[in-house]
């Protein structure tokens, strides 16, 4: 997701909710679109009313001021004009800023528009849906062949709106609106009719809105400025227009024919005649339409008169030279380009260059004209023309130009002539600029000389006293120290030493005196600066924010964020310094003086840091036997010192500025309570419940236990927030309430409106952890949002909206509680985890006499690691020698949720087939798949032993033996396996997860640092939720027996090999984060132990073993460790589609009954869906010779699957693959 998508997501959310709700009422997509359009218009209506009000008020005010503004503009310029207009604004209470304030809210609607566009465009169910006369809402309506009726209807509505809206307004506004309507017609003409319908209705509503916002436009015309037009007027208009239309027609015709010919040259000439006729007709109609529009529709428009021509004639002499310069540079550069490449389209390029130059010149001319008064181009002191300086300078120019041309030619002779034209023009232009600049400086120097001298004089006068004092002191010290030295050593060169001492003392005195005066001057000027506390603390917050964001950045210290912090820090430090200075001047208290000494030291350190930043080398020095080293990462120290400096000044700032403390209100405590309830509730109770409910099977406890486990934390959090409130002095209490309320809002913003995409939480690690490496713009955005939230909260409190806020917070709490409770109560395990009442021994049993099948699903095992693992661990060769390895195996999907159904139920349950049923939710369909598997296995007479099946709600009592991940009876195995006590990490992880999502970006990496949560991860031999899957795999031999008398089918789904790739050593130690290759190797080594056990117990030969993975690694950054042994032709490439293909290379390793052999490798094209057919021996593709020529599908599914809500998989891409999966040539994208 890019930034805009994230920023848009809340709007898309709103649009989506409204749309789906509308659909649920009407059960008709067309009607839903209309309702959506209506709802959005209604939603924005208050904003529009506000805007219209503000605009009218503003317009009235501007109209009232206009004569005076015009007068001032006519009579004055520059500074005077500025001051007068400023005073005029002041007298009319008109501030461009204040007028802007209510209007800013209009910006809110832009995202709605884009969101609607994005949502409707990507909304697939619209395909094939018809509405009224529209056949397919996802296609243009095409009612009259190529002509779409909806966009035309839309334009008509638009024109109507425009006509009414500007009825009393000025013509320019109407023209604007016409242009916009035209643009819309073109842009929306060929878009899906659903979208156009939405937009048309939006326009209908915006027309209706006029009745509310601008009712006056429907009454009789005010003033009657335009008057009724008579036929004669139209006639005269048409007569004026006719000759111009001819030109228009010819231009349009030539352009369209040229376009057609151009197309024909590029493609084919088959129907060229038809095309040319069509373009003639089209041009004719376009001209006719244009003329009708001009004659009838725009009575107010003034037809282009000769004024334009006159303007050009007037401007030409002034801008002639500019145009010539631009055009020659443009043409030269084109020629230059042609010299390098080819000349075929040079004429076109030259024409374009001339046109572009003309446009550029016009633009410049326009700017100059607009700012003529300010720039004084013609009357200014700066002269551009060399010839007006006299012959000497012309000579100098010629010589200089010649020299530089010669040098360029010389250079070209030695090297190359590639860009000689540009070089020569630059040489001439450079010489001209240099001469012009020098002469102007010389001419202007005299004017300013007196002024500068004057300034220096006053400078000197005011610093004389300080200079004398400093000089005397410094000289005395210097001379004294020299004499002192001489007394101790010798008097040989005392004269020389004394002279040097005096000179250096004098120089130092001058510098000090200058600094003093300068400081005094600056201080005197800046001491008058008044900075509002909001600005000061806002800046302070931002600099602190970016500092922490920079040092806690997910992937190490971020330099850019540091730079931003410095940008905010410098002004705030400066302001702080000014305020400190003010305070110091008034109060010469001992602690203030002490403080200023401290500040000088800090400043010195900061400057040294700055030096290190600029210089790039470390700085070390010794002071009083303490050595200081300032390292290269000085910039963070620079900020830290600056922050410390500023924060230490804050009390002085507060003393010096006027603070309007908020007044407390009766509802304060209620807002505080509700805010803390929201914050603590979200983190400790409600969000954990929601997460729990999304996939309850992943947790070994009942939902209600979240209450009992976290209630203490929840209460402690609320009570501490309230306690602090009562401890605080009553003056600052309202501020505290605002703070907590803002925190609640910021939390809400982060966890609900704009959640960061971290992927699923696997163990204690987020799958898309790298998404925490956010771009700078996110931080900028967030920093401002936080600031905005606090400011807005403050404003709301100031305006005494506390009651409203309390209601809002109450609503927020209720929605949150209702949402999470409804989700949680829908879960079976709300009150207690169902204990599976199977009385057997929970062991994996094998039959010695009949056949056994072991179906081992190693989640995310990367197929092509296998040969590498064998190479690196020769010992394994022996154990797996009877297995056949299928390297060329495609995964049906990239997610367990979408692979597993077909890996159990076969090709009837591939994602595309599952999606055909749009009635039942995915959870149900997954259940059907696993039940079908269970029946298939049972019908073949097997005893079914199974672990938990991912995403399947199958009743475990349907298994003959159910293998949990761990159970108390197995605790006897803890001694041989060196495993410690069991404990549940779920509770803390759930609230930490909620806290993480609620926290601002710059705090997130502190809470979660790539698998290390802020309370630290236990790396012990505890049998934690993290370690259980590993321990289960280790326990396999110890859990197996050979007691069965019937054939046994054993399904083991293991997450051992899944991200985050840890392992448990033989001594029971948990080793996190060893990478996929090492983890997969470890897992195979554990499987080997189980195979060894089978061999020892005589159940190996009669057992078919299938080791398969559901998908490969999904990764964003395929680094060297991940790509170990990659068979891809492209290697570790950054190409996104190629990275995706990693997820489609699963593992498939098969040992048939009684198989023997030496590590067979079978290159036939397989799919991991085949595994179940191999296991159940139905249409086993490995048994077919010669190998099948197949082409298989693969589906890329988004991780945002809501198993019990979604009815179809969120498939974002699909591929059709032939032959070798490791060659991208064989991949064809089908969606």
């Amino acid at each position: 997701m890019n930034f805009f998508e994230i920023a848009l997501s809340p709007f898309i959310f709103i649009i989506k909710q409204i749309f789906l709700f509308s659909y649920s009422i009407t059960n008709d997509y067309g009607a839903a679109i209309i309702l959506l359009s209506f709802a959005i218009s209604l939603l924005l209506l208050p904003v529009f009313i506000l805007i219209e009000k503000a605009k009218k008020k503003d317009d009235a005010l501007k109209l009232k001021m206009k004569p005076l503004v015009d007068e001032i503009k006519r009579c004055y310029k520059g500074q005077e004009r500025y001051y007068y207009i400023k005073t005029l604004n002041r007298q009319h209470n008109y501030s461009p800023l204040r007028a802007l304030f209510p209007v800013l809210s209009l910006l809110l609607q832009i995202p709605f528009f884009i969101a609607a566009y994005q949502f409707l465009e990507n909304f697939t169910p619209l395909q094939g849906v018809s509405f009224l006369f529209i056949n397919d809402l996802s296609l243009p309506d095409g009612l009259f062949g190529a002509v779409n009726i909806l966009p035309i209807a839309m334009t008509i509505v638009n024109l109507l709106t425009a006509w009414f809206y500007t009825r009393n307004g000025d013509a320019s506004e109407r023209k604007q609106m016409l242009v916009v309507a035209g643009i819309f017609l073109v842009l929306l003409f060929n878009l899906p009719s659903g979208l156009v319908l939405y937009w048309t209705m939006n326009n209908v509503f915006s027309f209706l809105r006029l009745f509310i916002t601008n009712p006056e436009v429907f009454k009789n015309r005010v003033g009657g400025k335009v008057g009724k037009l008579k036929f004669a007027d139209f006639k005269s208009r048409a007569l004026v227009l006719l000759p111009k239309l001819k030109v228009t027609f010819i231009v349009l015709l030539v352009l369209s024919i040229l376009g057609q010919l151009n197309w024909a040259f590029g493609n084919d000439f088959n129907d060229i005649y038809f095309r040319i006729f069509a373009s003639i007709g089209g041009s004719f109609f376009a001209t006719l339409l244009l003329s009708l529009l001009l004659v009838f529709y725009i009575p107010a428009i003034t037809l282009p008169s000769n004024s334009f021509k006159r303007l050009i004639i007037q401007l030409w002499p002034t801008f002639k030279s500019l145009f010539i310069v631009i055009v020659s540079v443009a043409i030269l550069s084109q020629i230059n380009w042609a010299l390098q490449y080819y000349f075929s389209d040079l004429p076109l390029r030259v024409v374009l260059a001339v046109l572009a130059s003309a446009a550029l010149t016009s633009l410049l001319a326009f700017i100059v004209l607009a700012y003529y008064g300010y720039l004084k181009i013609s009357k200014g002191n700066f002269k551009f023309c060399v010839s007006c300086f006299g012959p000497v300078y012309i000579g100098a120019f010629v010589v200089l130009a010649a020299l530089s041309i010669w040098s360029q030619v010389n250079w070209a002779l030695q090297f190359d002539f590639k860009d000689i034209v540009v070089r020569l023009s630059l040489a001439v232009a450079g010489s001209w600029l240099l001469i012009v600049f020098l002469v102007n400086v010389k001419n202007n120097y005299q004017k300013y000389r007196a002024r500068i001298a004057d300034a220096l004089k006053t400078y000197f006068r005011s610093s004389r006293k300080i200079f004398l004092r400093t000089w005397i002191i410094l000289t005395l010290i210097a001379v004294g120290s020299q004499i002192n030295w001489a007394l101790q050593f010798d008097f040989n060169d005392i004269v020389f030493r004394l002279i040097i001492a005096i000179i250096s003392a004098s120089i130092s005195a001058i510098i000090i005196a200058l600094l003093f005066t300068f400081h005094k001057k600056i201080a005197a000027t800046f001491n008058s600066i008044q900075v509002k506390p909001a600005v000061f603390f806002g800046l302070l917050f931002l600099s602190g924010y970016f500092y922490f964001a920079s040092i806690y950045y997910f992937s190490g210290i971020n330099y850019n964020l540091g730079i931003v912090a410095i940008i905010f820090l410098i002004p705030v430090q400066f302001i702080g310094h000014i305020y400190f200075n003010k305070y110091r001047r008034l109060n010469h208290l001992w602690y203030v003086n002490l403080h200023s000494v401290l500040l000088v030291f800090l400043l010195a350190f900061q400057l040294m840091n700055l030096w290190v930043i600029i210089d790039g080398n470390e700085l070390d020095f010794t002071l009083f036997n303490i050595s200081f080293v300032i390292s290269k990462t000085g910039f963070s120290d620079f900020i830290l010192i600056g922050l410390f400096y500023t924060v230490s000044i804050v009390p002085y700032f507060i003393r010096q500025s006027k603070f309007l403390l908020l007044k407390s209100s009766r509802q304060d405590w209620l807002v505080l309570f509700l805010s803390s309830l929201y914050l603590a509730g979200f983190i400790f109770i409600w969000n954990p419940l929601v997460v729990y409910s999304s996939f309850p099977d992943a947790f070994g406890f009942a939902a209600v236990q979240i209450f009992s486990e976290n209630i203490i934390l929840f209460l402690v959090a609320i009570i501490s927030i309230l306690f602090i409130y009562f401890v605080l002095p009553s003056k600052v209490r309202p501020g505290y309430v605002v703070l907590i309320f803002s925190l609640a809002l910021i939390g809400f913003f982060h966890n609900t409106i704009m959640p960061i995409d971290m992927g699923t939480l696997q163990g204690s690690k987020f799958e898309n952890g790298d998404n925490l490496n956010l771009d700078l713009i996110f931080y900028l955005f967030e920093g401002l949002i936080i600031l905005g939230v606090v400011v807005a909260a403050n404003y709301l409190f100031k305006k005494k909206f506390t009651k409203g806020i309390a209601y809002g917070m109450l609503l927020l709490n209720l929605v949150l509680i209702a949402q999470s409770l409804s989700a949680a109560l829908a879960v079976d395990s709300f009150w207690k985890v169902e204990k599976i009442p199977i009385a057997d021994s929970h062991t994996i049993t094998f039959s010695k006499d009949t056949q056994n099948v072991v179906y081992l699903m190693l989640d995310m095992f990367q197929g092509w690691y296998y040969p590498e693992i064998l190479k690196d661990n020769p010992g394994l060769n022996e154990d797996f020698s009877d297995f056949t390895y299928y390297p060329n195996t495609l995964a049906i999907s990239n997610y367990t949720a979408s692979s597993m159904p077909s890996m159990l139920g076969g090709y009837n349950f591939t994602p595309d087939k599952i999606d055909r049923d749009s009635v039942n939710h995915l959870g149900h369909k997954m259940l059907v798949a696993s039940e079908s598997f269970q029946q298939d296995v049972k019908s073949r007479g097997y005893h079914l032993t199974s672990t938990e099946i991912p995403y399947s709600g199958i009743d475990k009592r349907k298994f003959d033996t159910y293998l949990p991940l761990w159970k108390p009876e197995w605790d006897r195995l803890k001694t041989p396996l060196h495993i410690g006590n069991s404990y549940e990490i779920g509770f803390s992880l759930l609230w930490a997860n909620a806290l993480f999502y609620s926290a601002p970006y710059f705090v997130k990496p502190i809470i979660y640092n790539d698998g290390v949560w802020f309370w630290g991860t236990k790396e012990s031999n505890a049998n934690s939720g993290l370690a259980k899957p590993y321990n289960f795999l280790r326990a396999l031999p110890l859990l197996s027996d050979t007691q069965s008398e019937e054939p046994v089918f054993t399904l083991i789904c293991s997450k051992t090999t899944h991200f985050p790739w840890d392992k448990v050593k033989d001594d029971g130690t948990f080793v996190p984060d060893i990478g996929p290759y090492n983890n997969n190797t470890w897992a195979l080594q554990k499987v080997k132990l189980w195979i060894d056990w089978m061999k020892e117990n005589g159940v190996y030969d009669n057992t078919k073993i299938i080791i398969v993975s559901d998908h490969g690694i999904r990764t964003r950054n395929a680094n060297d460790t991940i790509m170990k042994g990659s068979p891809y032709k492209w290697g570790a490439n950054n190409d996104d589609t190629r990275k995706e293909q990693l997820a489609f290379s699963p593992f498939l390793l098969v040992k048939d009954f009684n198989a023997t052999g030496a590590n067979k490798v079978d290159d036939r094209f397989m799919c991991n869906v085949d595994a179940i057919d191999i296991a159940l021996n139905r249409n086993d593709p490995t048994k077919i010779e010669p190998p099948l020529k197949r082409s298989l599908n693969a589906y890329w599914v988004s991780w945002r699957i809501k198993v019990y809500e979604d009815k179809q998989y969120p498939i974002t891409k699909s591929f059709r693959v032939n032959n070798n999966i490791y060659d991208s040539v064989n991949w064809q994208k089908t969606k």
Binding site: F4, F48, I51, K55, L68, E71, I72, R74, C75, Y76, Q79, E80, Y82, Y83, Y84, K86, T87, L88, Q91, P96, L97, A99, L100, V103, L104, L106, Q109, I110, F113, I114, Y117, Q118, N158, T161, A162, Y165, E173, Q176, M177, V180, A181, I183, F184, L187, L188, W199, N203, S206, R209, L210, R451, D454, A455, K457, T458, S462, K521, A524, T525, S528
Partner: protein, 414 residues
């Protein structure tokens, strides 16, 4: 972000354009303000810090030495009442810097930009100044000054002041009733705060009257005509040229003194040189280059002028007739007058000074002059003066009392 354009209906677009324009305008406006602030900061060279003037409650600020005569009567009147005051000036040659008294301090605070930085940080109860446009141009109201008073320094209506001249003063020390009328009208129109409008008069007349007493009477055989035009394009000199003086000297016996505006030597040197050349042998014609016109004025019996402004002083102080060339006013666009709809006082009362002549009458100018020299008893110049100028001859005293009353009503800041 191509979508933005896509999904906006025409009405919204116009609102949007409006926002964008407003935004750009605001930013541009803010930037410009910032630019001028910086510029003034940089140009406010050699800035010197403020000193505290102790327990002084009254500060006067003068833009230049020409205003010393406006302030000195007030300062001296205050002194007579043992009241302290401070005089700040932007002119190094201001005689106010030389003036010494126990109740008086003076200080040069630099030219306008620098002075404004200084003035904007003053701390005192009352600041009086002749500079208009307080809080409009660079001189802002200091938050620590309780009262700003503008002291009018010419007997003219407010029409020709630049925009917003008085709007942000607390009081205006007016010279005549017409100023009060005009200012009240503007206040009403603009909705600005009602100012204290005081009937003060022209303080520099106190000084000039004093000087008049010291001029020894001239022993005159012939009447003297003083020609005192302004320097601008529409001036009598530019419009009528050398010919005017030829006509003036023809058929007459009076002496003629030409006293060009000092700016004329700068703007139209050729014209002055030409006149000088033409009449170098004419004993009746002299050119007065003395910067002070007092002597010529005292010597003369009649003044010929155009729009110079100096003739009011001439008529009021010397009670001598004035002959004016009929001159259309420059447009008052951009000045306070553009917002007022009544007739300007100067235009209304001009004819009462003597006579207005047109360009067509130039040939007969000597006749007109002789006529006016002989028959001017009908003119009631003293009456015009007394109805137009408050407290003639003792305005300084009045102003001082008014200031003291203002200061007395201001509570001491805590």
């Amino acid at each position: 972000m191509n979508f933005i354009l896509l999904y906006i209906d025409p009405a919204s677009t116009s609102a949007l354009l409006y926002i964008i324009i407003a935004l750009v305008a605001t930013i541009a406006f803010a930037l410009r303000g910032f630019f001028y602030k910086i510029r003034n900061l940089v140009l406010g060279k050699g800035f010197v810090g403020t000193d505290d003037f102790g327990d002084t409650d009254i500060i006067f600020y003068s833009e230049g030495k020409q205003y010393w005569n406006v302030f000195s009567p007030i300062i001296k009147a205050l002194e007579a009442k043992n009241e302290k005051c401070v005089y700040l000036t932007s002119d190094k040659d201001d005689p106010g810097l030389e003036y010494r008294s126990d109740y008086y301090q003076s200080k040069f605070i630099g030219k306008l930009t620098m002075a404004s930085v200084y003035l904007n940080r003053l701390k005192v109860k009352f600041v009086g100044m002749t500079t208009p446009q307080l809080d409009v141009m660079m001189i802002r109201r200091s938050k620590r000054v309780q009262h700003y008073g503008h002291i009018v320094h010419a007997p003219i209506d407010i029409f020709t002041y630049r925009k917003f001249a008085f709007d942000y003063f607390d009081s205006v020390f007016c010279s005549g009733y017409f100023q009060i009328e005009g200012i009240r009208k503007l206040e009403e129109q603009r909705g600005t705060d009602k100012k204290m409008l005081l009937q003060t008069g022209l303080t520099y007349y106190d000084v000039m009257l004093e000087q008049l007493k010291n001029i020894s009477p001239f022993n005159k055989e012939k009447p003297v005509v003083l020609v005192a035009p302004t320097w601008k394009e529409y001036s009598l000199l530019n419009r009528l040229g050398v010919g005017f003086f030829e006509h003036l000297l023809q058929n007459s016996s009076y002496d003629v003194i030409l006293r060009p505006h000092p700016q004329s030597y700068v703007s139209f040197p050729e014209l002055i040189a030409k006149i000088e050349q033409q009449f170098k042998d004419e004993p009746r014609f002299t050119i007065d280059r003395n910067p002070l016109a007092t002597e010529s004025m005292a010597k003369s019996n009649l003044m010929i002028s155009d729009l110079s402004g100096v003739f009011w002083d001439y008529a009021f102080l010397y009670s001598k007739p004035v002959l004016l060339l009929k001159t259309e006013f420059d447009t008052i666009e951009g000045f306070e007058g553009s917002e007022l709809d009544h007739e300007m006082w100067e235009v209304r009362e001009r004819p009462r000074l003597g006579r207005v002549f047109t360009e067509d009458e130039v040939e007969h100018i000597s006749t007109i002059v002789n006529d006016l020299l002989e028959n001017n008893t009908g003119l009631k110049l003293e009456q015009l003066r007394d109805e137009s100028v408050y407290n003639f001859g003792h305005a300084g005293e009045v102003a001082a009392n008014q200031i003291l009353e203002i200061v007395g009503n201001i509570k001491n800041p805590d």
